[in-house]
């Protein structure tokens, strides 16, 4: 495995923000993209109330599946205050996933949300694999 191939970086865009995630496996790519999105939201501090959720998703293609995955996690933050710091895939193929998500209801008093993500967009959303490395760019509407 090459060093530093797993992770995410933020990228700029005319009106909005995005991230580029890389990983050696598809599940890890999904996890890196999720961590990047959490980081974009601001400084979110875990709380004391533990939460766990099994996410099951189905989509027509892998890009749509990634879109739906990030959208679900975003909804959990905005709708339920849930921040999942442990993400584990029980199943992931090109059109389906089952993930065990564990974390806490984040501590709003200690957290600072810096941006509001309106949505995960489909713009240039393309998962590519070169030399064994998966890469994806995700643009968020903010």
């Amino acid at each position: 495995m090459q060093p530093n191939v797993t992770g995410y970086t933020f990228i700029e865009h005319t009106a909005d923000l995005g991230l580029r995630a890389t990983a050696t496996t598809l599940p890890d790519l999904f996890i890196q993209a999720a961590r990047g999105m959490y980081a974009l939201l601001g400084q979110l501090e875990p709380g004391t109330e533990p939460v766990e959720k099994i996410l099951q998703l189905q989509a027509p293609d892998t890009e749509s599946l990634l879109h739906d995955w990030l959208s679900e996690l975003l909804w959990e933050v905005d709708g339920n205050g849930r921040l999942f710091d442990a993400l584990e895939f029980e199943w992931l193929d090109e059109q389906h996933l089952t993930a065990r998500c564990s974390g806490t209801v984040y501590d709003t008093a200690r957290s600072e949300r810096s941006i509001e993500i309106k949505a995960v967009t489909y713009h240039d959303l393309r998962i590519e694999k070169h030399d064994g490395i998966y890469q994806v760019t995700v643009i968020f509407d903010i």
Partner: protein, 486 residues
Amino acid sequence: MTDTWSGPLEKIGESKYRIPKTYKPFMRVDGIIYADDILIGQIAKDKAPEQVANVASLPGIVGASLAMPDIHWGYGFCIGGVAATDPANGGVISPGGVGYDINCGVRLLRTNLTRADVEPILPVLIDGLFRDVPTGVGAGGKIKFNPKEIRQIMQHGPRWLVDHGYGWDEDIALCEALGRLDGADPDAVSQRAHARGYDQCGTLGSGNHFMEVQYVEQIFDQEIAKVYGLHKDQVTVLIHSGSRGLGYQVCDDYLREMREVPARYGIDLPDRQLVCAPVHSQEGKQYFAAMRAAANFAWGNRHMLAHLARQTFAHRFGKTPEQLGMHLLYDVAHNIAKMETHTVAGRQMSLCVHRKGATRAFPPGHAEVPDRYRAVGQPVLIPGDMGRASYVLAGLPGSMEQSFGSTCHGAGRQMSRSAAIKASAGRDIKKELAAVGVYARARGRTGLAEEQPDAYKDVNDVVRVVEKAGLSKRVARLRPLGVIKG
């Protein structure tokens, strides 16, 4: 992502450029961009013109795929785009043609205060607004509505709020579409969208949304200004917000639900973000009903924000909002799809007009212009950046002839948010604004940097183009005194 566009741009008038439909085989009509020689250079710096061409592929599109001079890159559709489709001819409705912030728009309140009345207490007034008006990410409303009441707002817009003691009866007549689109169905709005929006009626949000206290710096047309109730040095309050989380979720839900709809109807699209459904199809009707509900909610949201502003002013000046003359001048949407009647090649047609970052600008005499403004045309509200100016325009007959009754919506971004933050490194944007006489309060650490004046095109250039093109004319320029942001 800032690739310069190199496709054809034919100059066809002093302030008009054409992308001929021969550019791409999928184009059903030409693309038309309103711009002058300076702005077109900025516009071609990204792929927005390509998006104008892509929109020309939509089934049933009529006339041309249009873009206003504040055009910039968006998702699928560019921001600043106008597209009208004919449902009787397979015309489609597209969630991407409205955008995530359904019925994002602008509301302007007049006052009988002058600049001299406000300037001595400006920081206190702005701090008061900053405290009284919920701003920032996920901020909940000061006045709570239960889910049943939110359904009522989705169906009836500000009318329901006035009937329950918020705002003034006269406000209703001064909203585009009277603040209510028929055919709104809260049941077409997902539970998730209800949940995201239920405590956000009367909240400003974040990003480019703001509430600004301004004064009338210059009058361009005395007669129209008089009809609008505007005079030099008068203080106004401009509110820019939309449907908050509820609208974002409606758009996201339907982009997802419509993913496989184009294939079902044999619609081939150059960009999947243009997903759409025939207006008359079940899928199209469902989205339209949900979008209308979110639009009505947005009018309700701006109505409540105006209510909060009136309360703060009343408190600070020790007079009632009525004594302060805080009348609504007008409220317009700039992200919306509506059924409207337009005359195309001499024939009256009922069209689905998408305005994404474009504002309705109906001319004098149009039946949908409120009685008191009908002789001079609909007020058009154009928010600029924090350091320069905003404009009040009036609709002109040219808008009906050329752009389905539409004009521009703002200054248009020219710098990415991160570039704006980088450009502000080592600078104190709040102090810079103070130096030009603007007192600013923002919730986020980077909000002011992201929204600094340099991040936007010069709104003066944008409105000059739409006036030259005959879409709308300048009535007054409003200069910011103080602003609150999320």
